[in-house]
Assembly symmetry: C2
Homo-oligomer: 414 residues x 2
């Protein structure tokens, strides 16, 4: 049994669910501030689980709080085809980033119920814990843990700025699951997501076929100096770790501008220092920065430039520097057969379609190490995201959701 | 009745008191972390009040928590000669900065008791609230409030990083006094303080005669930008307020190096941003910076350069900037007659003496607007301060304390 040519998701049903999600963890006007494992995250998780159960899905939660909602297949012994993304947001986040991928998976299941279609393989929807990293670092910790990049103990031990751990918060909100730590096999993974960039919207494209990701390298850097008085202490004896961090952030920003003409980005996103007070030089600082470029060789050059900038910032300020963590993602990590399938389906449905690289990090990057993976992008207005003004219309999301429906069924029914 | 030629303070008695103070609010090894209006600040205030009462002094506390301990004069209707400084410290502070001036005043009173000397004018010791600014901004809020630079309501409303106000904390620790807000007249004010710089120690000077302060200008600057994704968002559309703040701090540091050859200093001491998280550009940042130079005209040039750097940091990052606060201090603000008296007394006692400018801010700067004022500096090892390794020996402090004793008595008995 195959889907009829007229089979579609129900965009109004989907929108009702998106709107309900948009009431949970309200932030600045129009936006969400639904930080990982907060009360608001618990609430949206609870509602998501209810919606899934109402749709006849069974729920499992693993040791890092990832939620798997399963729709039985005709042959339930086969590995599932999985759809998903994340329900958490940045502190000033939007109503679609990640959320559209999780609730899109739910809509696919609901649509299949309405169509009376049972796929050969089971389907699963997954909500990954802490994709954003807006409260706990690093981001994508749920998918990273599931795929073995991080150990469960390490991941549970990550702390927020108040020293509260992921493990404590999982327990508090009731999402510390007991599902086996080792990942269960996926037949395939599809992540539907808004582009979070301006390209599709500018070009009037309805569906972005994600062929890979910008090669990206991020670093967590620590500087150590010496406290002293901001007045009498001679410039040549100062070891102001805050200024070391500031020098790194400026060098990284300059690097981004150097490569802007070829689509490169470089960002200083976080700088904390101690004591970070008027009157005293800081003896400790931590900075987070990253570089991204469509060409992996250029990203390597940019990363090397960052390493040199770290040394220069330390030398210039008399501080010592240590790179505490480095993360890399992106490249041509997605499965060609799935990418090709998504492109064919989108074109077959008559949508304006284009290939595109993802510039953001996504759980799909980790999952691609575990199973054949693809992403489907939808446009968002002006590319604005990680901002309460993030905006999508029904017209922006409906095409990609229909592609998701057909791509998942094609994979699950083969 | 004048002091005998052999009259001296008792350095052992003073040291016992300093050592006891050094047990209250212990920080890193050898240092103190006695933040304004903390439990530790309450404890040292309580003990200071006890010591004063044991020495027969009467206590008054004003509306911003400044403690005045009074030793009656032969003519108690005359304005007092006042000694003082502060008992609070930076979060990584030493055991002498400020403390030596308050407990030095107590030692002068104890020495006069031992000598059976009652001065013509009354004496007072003052502990100014929040000199350091290590918890509440701005620094020197107690003396600034007393001298009318800040209103009482405004000063009480200053908050720490957790949003707790000075007024709330004064009430909590029992130091919200009812003494009239308007300042009572001082005949003169003497502040004994460690130099907090390397000059006296390097040159083997026992007593620094403070002829004025480096002309200093500080600013609190706010940048506003826009949150966005650190990945896809094009460089040319970014408004990363954190990077704006970092650019300002680097420009200020460069400015300090430019003027280092003539003794200038420029410091970026604080940078906070929101959300200040990986994955999202910050839309808000606040930076604190200051410039200091022995030549006031050069300080003006440096301050103008900072103003331009603020504009450039904003323009370069697409942010807006606003200078929320500017403070100026320093110059030739102390009373020549008191300065000359301190110099004469020090030389008369045979101490190695030199004129020096203060490079740090002190309560004496505000008090100089209210009464003839002088400062007496003692050396500290290597000039290290605002650091737990701040160190003075008995030999470092005894000469200055003896000068304080004689300068105060000469003034009070005239």
């Amino acid at each position: 049994m195959s889907l009829s040519a007229s089979a579609r998701i129900d965009i109004e049903r989907f929108w009702t669910t998106i709107d309900r999600s948009g009431e949970i963890g309200v932030g600045r006007p129009g936006g969400l501030s639904r930080l990982t494992l907060s009360d608001a995250d618990k609430q949206v998780r609870d509602e998501f689980v209810d919606w899934c159960r109402q749709a006849g899905l069974s729920i499992r939660i693993d040791g890092i709080g990832n939620i798997f909602a399963r729709r039985a297949g005709q042959d339930d012994t086969l590995p599932p085809v999985v759809m998903g993304s994340h329900l958490d947001t940045q502190v000033n986040g939007g109503r679609f980033d990640g959320i559209a991928g999780v609730l899109g998976g739910l809509e696919v299941c609901r649509a299949l119920d309405a169509l009376g279609h049972r796929t050969r393989r089971p389907l699963e929807i997954v909500n990954w814990t802490n994709e954003e990293g807006g409260r706990f670092s690093p981001p994508m910790v749920g998918s990273g843990c599931f795929t073995g990049t991080y150990t469960l103990d390490w991941a549970r031990g990550r702390t927020d700025d108040d020293g509260v751990t992921i493990g404590q918060e999982l327990e508090r909100i009731g999402y510390l699951g007991e599902m086996a730590e080792s990942p269960h096999p996926f037949d395939a993974y599809f992540e539907f997501h808004i582009e979070q960039g301006p390209i599709l919207d500018r070009e009037g494209t309805q569906v972005g076929v994600v062929t890979g990701g910008f090669a990206s390298t991020g670093m967590l850097v620590e500087f150590r100096g010496e406290t002293a008085h901001t007045g009498p202490w001679p410039m040549e004896r100062r070891k102001n770790a805050l200024v070391a961090g500031a020098r790194l952030l400026v060098a990284v920003d300059d690097l981004g501008w150097e490569h802007a003409g070829t689509g490169g980005k470089a960002t200083g996103s976080r700088l904390v220092a101690w004591p970070n007070k008027p009157g005293i030089l800081s003896d400790w600082a931590q900075a987070v920065c990253d570089v991204r470029h469509p060409d992996p060789a250029t990203t390597e050059v940019m990363a090397e430039r960052v390493r040199r900038a770290i040394g220069e910032a330390a030398a210039r300020t008399g501080c010592t520097a240590e790179i505490l963590d480095v993360w890399n993602w992106g490249g041509r990590i997605f499965a060609d057969e799935l990418i090709d399938g998504v492109r064919d389906i989108s074109q077959g449905l008559g949508y304006r379609t284009q290939d595109i690289l993802s510039q953001a990090g996504h759980d799909a990057y980790f999952v691609a190490r575990h199973a054949p993976t693809a992403m489907i992008f939808a446009p968002c207005k002006g590319g604005i995201t990680h901002n309460n003004q993030e905006l999508c219309t029904r017209e922006d999301l409906e095409p990609g959701l229909n592609v998701l429906l057909r791509a998942v069924v094609a994979r699950a029914d083969r």
